[in-house]
């Protein structure tokens, strides 16, 4: 899978610190019930996924870390053409915004939906197109984390899945 990269280490470190703090706070509460392991796992995944998305998007504009070797990848021409028409810039803006929202837990259900098309593209390029080595791990992790988080916030999506939805305009009071 190759060596560890900043894109992986920084988000995982942030997620681990946040979970440790949450765990300590949970244990120090006098009325603490049974340990909410699942909630801590979801918190770790949310922080790791959000921070990874934020770092990936921000690095595109700030050039902090060495860029991934995209030219030698089979996905290289696609990324190049996307950049040429301005689509890649838009995707990176979405990553920054969605990543920040997920980390700060502001409108998380919306941010997970915003990020999902990018996740599917990353999965497709990494697993289906490249299909070997480290990208396979990255692609599966991206899809698994986004899917787990969508399931963890599924309660917010249920109204949207109404099979026979009627018009409910924003400008009309419920």
């Amino acid at each position: 899978m190759g060596g560890l990269r900043p894109y992986d280490v920084i988000p995982a470190s942030i997620a681990t610190v946040v979970v440790i703090v949450a765990l300590v706070m949970q244990l120090r509460r006098k009325d603490a019930g049974p340990l909410a392991i699942v909630a801590l796992v979801i918190l770790w995944i949310r922080m790791d996924f959000g921070a990874h998305t934020l770092v990936s998007g921000a690095d595109y504009f700030l050039h902090i870390f060495p860029p991934p070797a995209i030219d030698t990848s089979p996905a290289g021409p696609f990324v190049r053409e996307m950049t040429r028409i301005g689509m890649y810039d838009l995707i990176k803006v979405v990553e920054v915004v969605a990543g920040a929202m997920i980390v700060a837990n502001v409108f998380t259900p919306l941010a997970l939906v915003m990020e999902f098309p990018i996740t599917v593209s990353i999965f497709w390029l990494s697993v289906v197109v490249v299909g070997t080595g480290r990208p396979v791990f990255t692609g599966w992790r991206e899809l698994a984390f986004n899917a787990v988080l969508l399931a963890a916030y599924a309660g917010y999506y249920l109204p949207m899945l109404d099979l026979r939805a009627r018009q409910k305009p924003l400008w009309v009071r419920a």
Binding site: A39, I85, F107, V172
Partner: protein, 147 residues
């Protein structure tokens, strides 16, 4: 809202739903059923982008999304979900058509579909309100109190 206003809202949204649904359904169907020739961007950058997506299978995936979401919009099944499903494709087409194509009618087509899509999202906006809750706690699908 007055009678005319309510009728305009209702039938305006109906028109946009059927138009956007029909447009995408035909566009998706055409790719697989070869009803007519596949439109190719007039500009070099758009053409190169389309070719790169075809080489990777992403174009085919987008056409499957157009077909599915278009059908859902046309048949009024799960419209709020269909609008979310189709939004990345509409955005992509909007960017390509409006900022890349030299042809005015192509620019207008991309802008019109994007506008219709935004208006439809607003027209079904109350289904999306739960998504914009700040500091939302998790509501897992596996917990009985999720809704």
């Amino acid at each position: 809202m007055s009678g005319w206003g309510a009728a305009l809202e209702r039938y305006g949204l109906l028109f946009m739903r059927v138009y956007l649904g029909g447009f995408n359904f035909i566009s998706g169907l055409n790719y697989y059923a070869h009803l007519t020739h596949q439109p190719i961007p007039a500009d070099a950058a758009g053409r190169a982008f389309m070719e790169s997506t075809m080489a990777l299978g992403l174009f085919q995936l987008a056409k499957a999304v157009e077909l599915t979401a278009g059908f859902l919009l046309l048949t009024n099944i799960n419209v709020p979900f269909a609008l979310v499903l189709l939004f990345p494709v509409t955005t992509n087409v909007f960017v390509m058509n409006v900022f890349s194509s030299p042809l005015l009618h192509v620019k207008a087509s991309g802008a019109r579909n994007f506008l219709f899509h935004l208006l439809l999202i607003a027209g079904y906006g109350r289904y999306y309100l739960p998504l914009i809750r700040p500091f939302a706690p998790a509501r897992p699908i596996w917990r009985k109190d999720a809704p």
